[in-house]
Symmetry: C2
Subunit: 250 residues, 2 copies
């Protein structure tokens, strides 16, 4: 299949700004990289009110070059997605009834602290981050693993938020468009302590097109999902594409 | 599908001691648990000369009770598999042109040292072990992870052996009988430094019925395969069966 790394590729023609579900939520997306953009675009398409959060709005809008992955500067991307607003971390978190953490793992805790603990209180945080450590070269290890996970660190740092780890084992484009691969016949995992929060996240995943949502258990099961990443990265090298996913055959 | 935890379930009726391939090898299987038994039975069925190695033959044959998993004592198992011989670690390794490490990860390095470094020299070691640490409860963490792996530890301890990590992400019964699940439409991974050794191991995997053998790269990629185990263990809890496997959908 063709390789579309930019999130724009996932929007069906002619339906760009049409609400599908109608029951829009206020959603704060923390992070403006490819993961944040993919979710912001998809959620706006689905009729939600999306505010993306960044560390410094002026700095982010002052970037005029494509990033290392070839993604356009955010200013240009926003012009193509006028339903998505850009604000500070704090304003995005304040706006959201539900928060999506789409930051790089090494910056996650700082970004969420900058979002303001009070702005996260009682809210569902969908945590997509991976604690990847690239300091030793191109093949990353994990900054936290085995007896702890980034998902658990976030839950401990914000005990009144409801952290649900999900989608971190999947490429950004496929996260919001599972049907692009084998008609969606592959799996997404879910970890979290709060059953109601996991139910809400499952509904969002279903609105993205996910059919197979596997609830692994409490937030400590995020260890298993995060520890898939070393395999994921090596498989990307072998397959020469990030457009693959795991399916549990049983 | 029906749940057959005992390795006997994998032998097709009437073909128990018939060589299929004809080109028998001398194989030493280090370890007498369910993994060792599964491979010993299958390899004997395929016409290889199999010697299983144990720490102390008398002690092993003196066990008269089933183990915690309900497997029969080895003495009884051997009566049902007269083509498989039981010897010491040392004798099994000496016998094998090719060695299979089917020990528990916590005992692997000691068992291989007891097998004798000279008996491993220049030989392919198929390493199926997982460095599981159950000391903190029912859900294991890993004894080594992230920046190292048991596969790499073995390769460093025996630099003249050719370690190939494989099958550790799969239940023992399915390891030697992939067709028992979805006609074998799922994947097995391979890690190792020596291309020739990986080719030989691939041939053995194909003789077991494996169609999808994914070569991840050098032995350091065993980290990815071993770090799948925390997910595997949690999935077994969710699915309530060990008879599942990962398939890479692309």
């Amino acid at each position: 299949m063709a390789l579309h790394m930019s999130p724009e590729g996932l929007l069906p023609k002619g339906s760009k700004f049409t609400s599908i579900t109608g029951d829009g939520m206020k959603i704060g997306v923390i992070g403006t990289g490819i993961v944040g953009r993919s979710h912001a675009a998809k959620l706006a398409l689905l009729g939600h009110e999306v505010v993306m959060g960044t560390r410094n709005v002026e700095t982010t809008l002052g970037v005029h070059e494509r990033d290392m992955m070839g993604n356009p500067p955010l200013k240009e991307w926003l012009q193509g997605h006028p339903m998505v607003k850009l604000e500070s971390f704090h304003e995005a978190a304040l706006h959201g009834e539900l928060i999506i953490n789409a930051t790089r793992g090494e910056h996650t805790l700082e970004a969420l602290r900058n979002s303001g603990e009070r702005n996260l209180e009682g809210k569902v945080i969908i945590d997509i981050s991976n604690p990847l450590d690239f300091s030793e070269g191109a093949l990353p290890s994990l900054l936290v693993a085995n007896t702890d996970s980034l998902g658990e660190e976030i839950q401990r740092a914000f005990p009144n938020a409801k952290v649900v780890k999900t989608l971190n084992t999947i490429n950004a484009r496929l996260q919001v468009d599972p049907d692009a691969l084998m008609s969606g016949d592959h799996d997404v995992f879910l970890s979290g302590n709060d059953a109601g929060a996991k139910q809400r996240v499952t509904e969002i995943l279903r609105s993205y097109g996910w059919k197979n949502v596997v609830d692994l258990g409490d937030i400590s099961t995020a260890r298993g999902a995060e520890m898939m990443l070393p395999m994921w990265v090596r498989l990307m090298g072998v397959l020469q594409t990030p457009l693959f996913n795991f399916k549990i055959v049983r």
